[in-house]
Symmetry: C2
Subunit: 290 residues, 2 copies
């Protein structure tokens, strides 16, 4: 089964568990709405690609790790769109969760997705409990305080945050977790895989900054120019457009070079190259990626 199908099946299994007859109907609907249809599922793809390169001896474990990471990403989007943050009405070309279901259900859907991610890990962990503590702790650290995704969002409430620290927390941490969790879920040493997640995460954030600065709302499926409007620290604000493009190219090169010599290494390099093409705003697409 290809990675994309595995990810959608794992996500569907998790969301379906919340759709029993005794579930509050609007919450159940909001959860499915928040998770499907997805974006590129970059983080779970990375997780499964690393798991595959590490032998992937327990696919139920890597599937759950991938799904948990994507559920946490979806949760962060739902909360990030709330009126007290970006106050965004559109996401992936459709109304945001709170725009469609109201603010209370926006908060609750995000909460439920966070819980669902850890439930997903626990259910798969029954088959291989000795891997569950490290896997859960890795993923929790990448989204919590002091250095995970939530901390990254919290830096937006601080005066003059450090750009690197902010982006490592808000975006980088979950990419690092995706690569580390891929290895841990396959019973492998995660050390050699951290750098890949780290560089891809930063590349993804720089590309996001570039797209926000350069694309139209139609191209983005959400409002453009939000970073500048909200005075957020971004790579474009710090390095300028050209500097940010050069940085993106450099990070993608480093990501490819960091891939350890493993059975699935070529597949992984291709995944990075594919992401590279997808990431760069069309009018600035790098001529080549090493």
């Amino acid at each position: 089964m290809d990675a994309g199908t595995r990810i959608e099946q794992a996500l569907n299994g998790a969301v379906a568990r919340a759709e029993t007859a005794s579930a509050p109907p609007k919450l159940a609907a909001a959860l499915r709405y928040a998770v499907f249809p997805g974006g590129a599922r970059v983080r779970p793809q990375l997780c499964l690609a690393v798991a595959r390169a590490c032998g992937d001896d327990t696919p139920a474990m890597s599937d759950s790790a991938a799904a948990a990471i994507e559920l946490l990403h979806c949760a962060s989007l739902v909360h990030d769109d709330l009126p007290c943050f970006d106050d965004a009405d559109l996401r992936r070309g459709k109304p945001t969760v709170h725009a469609a279901y109201g603010e209370a259900l926006g908060v609750l859907a995000g909460d439920a997705l966070i819980v669902m991610a850890f439930e997903c890990l626990a259910l798969a962990g029954a088959a291989m409990p000795q891997r569950l503590p490290a896997l859960t702790a890795t993923i929790a650290r990448s989204v919590g305080a002091p250095n995970g995704l939530v901390a990254g969002q919290a830096w937006e409430s601080e005066p003059d945050p450090d750009l690197g620290q902010y982006q490592r927390a808000k975006t980088g941490a979950l990419f690092v977790a995706a690569s580390v969790a891929g290895a841990v879920s396959a019973g492998a040493d995660p050390g050699p895989w951290r750098c890949l997640g780290d560089r891809l995460g930063e590349a993804y954030q720089v590309a996001d900054d570039l797209r926000d600065a350069l694309c139209t709302p139609e191209e983005l499926g959400k409002p453009a120019g939000q970073d500048e409007a909200l005075g957020r620290p971004t790579a474009v604000a710090e390095f300028g457009l050209e500097g940010a493009c050069a940085r993106l190219q450099h990070l993608l090169d480093e990501a490819v070079e960091s891939i350890p010599d493993a059975p699935g290494a070529t597949e992984l390099q291709q995944l990075v190259l594919l992401q590279a093409k997808r990431l760069a705003p069309k009018r600035l697409a790098p001529a080549s990626v090493a």
Copy 2:
């Protein structure tokens, strides 16, 4: 070490992990503010009391289960107080988290507390991984969709919810999890302990409804009469004041009777009786509890 001290130490350990030099300072402060000083810590007390009655052979595990449950409870209070839910300015006699730190940090603090709860379980689980899957799944189910705390809050967005279903999800589920997690963290069969959590949880909710209807804001440390003002389904609305009092008494009797014959049974009965005294609004205190 007494249970109260164990709970505060475990909570402090979890919150302190979010207070590193690289943490966003306002988020770190908001997390401590949300957890300390606490209320009666009823749920973690129940968890540790059941663990003790089951032998409590791995206190690090039961401490973490107790702390995780309290962190999830604190998270629910922080989010429940937000403008899109209760819009409450006061909690435990001081400004609510969003009143003190702003709405964005209110949302983020709740999110970080949820994540912290599962991180806490994972860290303790390294010592006894085979208990971690059931423990994590139990606690996750009790706070997530379709039947946990978040689902309970979501019933408030549905027309004409069933009172029993609403209260079992919003309050009962976490009490059941506290008793079940106490047993699971001690390696015991949780089956005989479910009823205790279930009855205590419902008693707690009925008492809360009574206090909201009868107490002054000064006595509550938060606004009174909120349930009626917000048109929420409550035991007082359904059974009247006297009916709700009778129901509270009956539930507490059932809770005491449900306690299995175990080494710590007497201590547990005393805990229930103590809660019974604490729960009943003073002007309606039941003359005796069986």
